[in-house]
Symmetry: C3
Subunit: 241 residues, 3 copies
């Protein structure tokens, strides 16, 4: 069977993907849910994108993983793109789940609307430790719109402050994703409004992959909390050969 490595998004850790991993394991596969440097308990919130990418490259090496289906969620798309550039020999397919797709020299904030860039700058400035948090009303209405309030609140309570530098650092790649030889899928949750349509996930970002496989499923940006079984089913379709 297949080895999946699921890389979380901003404010998350790998633990939030464990219910999804359990559903994939139930289908007979191996699943890892590492936490990116900067989001682990005790990590410096000044962590940058390069260190974030390196932590997942190291995770693959330390666990001697190869022939991996590597998924990135949201900000995790920045990370898996960097990992695929540095350790392509370990990867069988990339899955971008409502994820950022950077070309060489782009940062996450190059791909989000100006009002989010300004909001993150303001929050980071106020916090002063290098981190940003997401205000609850935005989380509840625009990120996890398919949840009831209790689920939205419980999910919000496990989020951790995110290192702002990982969002503003420009990625350094030897090749843009469209030029990478690795197979690629875009898993698109169709009710995701974490970014407005003018800065939407698909097709704006998916088509930067060149030839890719689209799998579309209902759900918000945070389907890992609201329907991990449905997300796992989508990942299996996106991840098969």
């Amino acid at each position: 069977m297949t080895t999946f490595v699921l890389v979380h998004g901003a404010w998350h850790t790998g633990a939030e993907l464990e219910p999804v991993a359990a559903a994939i394991r139930a289908a007979g596969h191996t699943v890892h849910c590492p936490t990116i440097a900067g989001n682990r308990p005790g990590d410096a919130k000044t962590t940058g994108l390069d260190a974030a990418i390196a932590s997942i490259v190291d995770y693959l090496a330390d666990n001697a993983l190869s022939d991996v289906v590597l998924l990135g969620h949201s900000y995790g798309g920045m990370v898996i793109t960097g990992v695929a550039d540095r350790a392509p020999e370990r990867i069988r397919r990339l899955i971008y789940w409502n994820a950022f797709v950077p070309n060489n020299g782009e940062s996450l904030t190059d791909m989000v609307p100006p009002h989010f860039v300004a909001l993150f700058d303001e929050i980071a400035g106020a916090r002063g430790d290098g981190s940003v948090i997401l205000p609850f009303p935005i989380w509840r209405e625009a990120f996890i719109n398919d949840a009831d309030l209790a689920t939205a609140q419980a999910a919000y309570d496990v989020l951790n402050p995110h290192p702002h530098a990982t969002m503003t650092d420009k990625i350094s790649l030897s090749r843009d994703p469209a030029a990478m030889e690795i197979a690629k899928s875009y898993l698109f949750c169709t009710e995701d409004t974490a970014q407005p349509q003018s800065h939407g996930w698909h097709p704006r970002l998916s088509e930067k992959l060149g030839l890719f496989r689209l799998v579309a499923i209902p759900g918000s940006h945070e389907l890992c909390f609201t329907d991990p079984q449905a997300l796992a089913a989508g990942i299996l379709k996106a991840g098969r050969d």
Copy 2:
């Protein structure tokens, strides 16, 4: 539980939303389906937008309703926007179901394509009593595309001539919807072709709400006739806190 007030679209009355209301009541909520001035039996077809809005403001007051989840369908979006501006203290959340979202000074016809504006002008001119009707072929193919012919015909038979002035009158608001403090949802039926994509409901109109919650479900502009249970389920997701 919650008090819902469902405000119908052009050519409809509240009665057509009763099957939806029944499904929401079955979940334990209170539901009102008032008919807007201009669409009640005997109403003058010269009724304008201001009187239409006032009739729902009065309905809320007469029934001493507060903490209301107020839904508007299509033209009903014009009405609930006006109600929210005049009686914000009664409203907990607005739901726009494939509905128009006006800023101050806009009319419904400012948001529809030129060929519909011309068609309505022509029909109103021919009828001479201030009302417009919708030709059956447009209704059947573009509005209720998910129905069988018998359902499409039966639904058409209960429509009433709509006061044209409510479509051409400019709305007067003290604040645009994006600036309103009230929580807002957009309930989007994804197969709705009542307006062409160039003048689509979401995201063109939904994003005028500022921060809002998207709930998307399959169905046409007239899901109240074709699947009231599915519509009720969508309203419950859109209307919860």
Copy 3:
């Protein structure tokens, strides 16, 4: 009940639509799945669009078919548009299933992105018999993205080289589709990435029909292989009066 004629796309024959036809027949209808000239065993791969259209016009006449619901898939949209122009008296409704919609004087290649035009030119040049084939990686990822690998491979194995001239010939019509009196539906598989979004099926091509009925269902460009039952259900909704 209704007589359906299902017209396949490029590289296909009518045989690939038989599982769909069986599901429609089970609902009590009559279904024909002719193969277009140029795709039948032994046909010259220099066949042009005019001969392709004529072969379906002849099929309707030879079988004395009238009051037909005529469906075209992909390239089949070119063919049914030509048939509707030449034999409108035989047709009750057109269904375009993720299909091209040409106006007078347009070719299929006028509606696809430049990289596909170049790819087809290159392949046709290399083959030298007038035909083009589709490389497997494009088929697997962009055309039949909802299949498992075995289904994708088995479906690929039954494809036949397609006459390139049918893609580059300009269609000759007495009226554009929007001006045709015949009822029209667009059946849209929402996960179809056979054409990129910048050259998408709906609404870019569907809105060339004028007044039309939209039916949208999940699935790839090749739903006939991956879920013929779901496709048949969509065709029944698109094809009813």
